[in-house]
């Protein structure tokens, strides 16, 4: 019953919070190593995988026989894994470092804002549920 009460929106928001925290860690690593020679800037992707899991997790008919296939079915959202890799789209400076400090700062700001927005939306949804549970009894 609880899986119907807390719908996949709350799951999706919760997952996005986890991933955005991971992104924050990656950006911190890039910023700390902004002057390290030979350091390649890292990037993390989760948007597509999460979007696929949200769209597909309603379809109970799909099944996979290998763990590497896209996560499907109920609970797909919690099985999404993020992808961390070297950012290929960068300018290399003469000591081999590829960190673009301004872009990292911009990403950091956007990430923080979307993280806080997700938290607020989860709060809103929970408050609505609590309201219905409390007021309905009168």
């Amino acid at each position: 019953m609880s899986s119907k009460m807390f719908d996949k929106t709350v799951d999706a928001l919760g997952s996005s919070i986890d991933f955005r925290l991971l992104r924050n860690n990656v950006i911190s690593g890039n910023v700390a190593n902004a002057e390290t020679p030979g350091y390649k800037a890292k990037k993390i992707d989760f948007e597509e995988a999460l979007s696929r899991a949200i769209d597909i997790s309603g379809l109970n008919r799909l099944s996979t026989d290998h763990g590497d296939h896209f996560p499907v079915g109920p609970g797909a959202i919690s099985r999404v894994r993020a992808d961390v890799y070297d950012n290929p789209d960068v300018n290399v400076s003469n000591d081999g470092n590829t960190v673009d400090l301004e872009r990292e700062m911009a990403n950091l700001a956007e990430n923080t804002i979307l993280y806080k927005a997700a938290i607020q939306l989860i709060n809103k949804k929970m408050a609505a549920l609590k309201y219905v549970a409390a007021e309905g009894g009168r």
Binding site: G29, A32, E35, I44, Y115, K116, M126
Partner: protein, 145 residues
């Protein structure tokens, strides 16, 4: 989820930039120093940064790949400049050699100033990064409020 990892990484960045500032200040202060403990004029010092994986203990090595790719920065070496010193003709100077030349450190003030600005900027970027992490952690406390 782990906020402390991001904090550790950012603080390593701050420490590295601070050490760089130390060496830059030392270079600027000693720009005209003709005597040093190892003999000869002061030699320019520079820090060497290296990215190392951030793990507190062996257990961390077994964590998922995303966590392992996050590296913090460490100052592994202080490089001493081995280049030739600047020679100036001052026969009356106590450190003048037989030809009347005094060996001064080969330090370019403009270069050191530029490095200082860069180090400051990187330091501030790390501070912003740490603030953002702290911000996220504090707003997570509001979940359910």
């Amino acid at each position: 989820m782990d906020f402390s990892k991001a904090m550790r990484v950012s603080s390593s960045g701050l420490a590295a930039q601070r050490m760089r500032m130390n060496s830059i200040s030392s270079n600027i202060a000693n720009i005209n120093t003709t005597r040093s403990p190892e003999g000869g004029p002061y030699r320019r010092k520079d820090v060497v940064f290296e990215a190392i994986p951030d793990s507190k203990n062996f257990g961390d090595v077994l964590t998922t790949v995303p966590d392992q790719s996050i590296q913090r920065v460490q100052v592994t070496d202080v490089e001493v400049d081995r280049g030739a010193p600047l020679l100036k003709y001052e026969p009356d100077h106590p450190d003048a050699n037989a030809d009347g030349y005094v060996a001064y450190p080969n330090i370019n003030l403009m270069e050191e100033m530029a490095n200082m600005i860069q180090a400051t900027r990187a330091y501030e970027a790390n501070i912003s990064s740490m603030q953002a992490t702290k911000d996220m952690a504090l707003s997570a406390l509001e979940l359910g409020q």
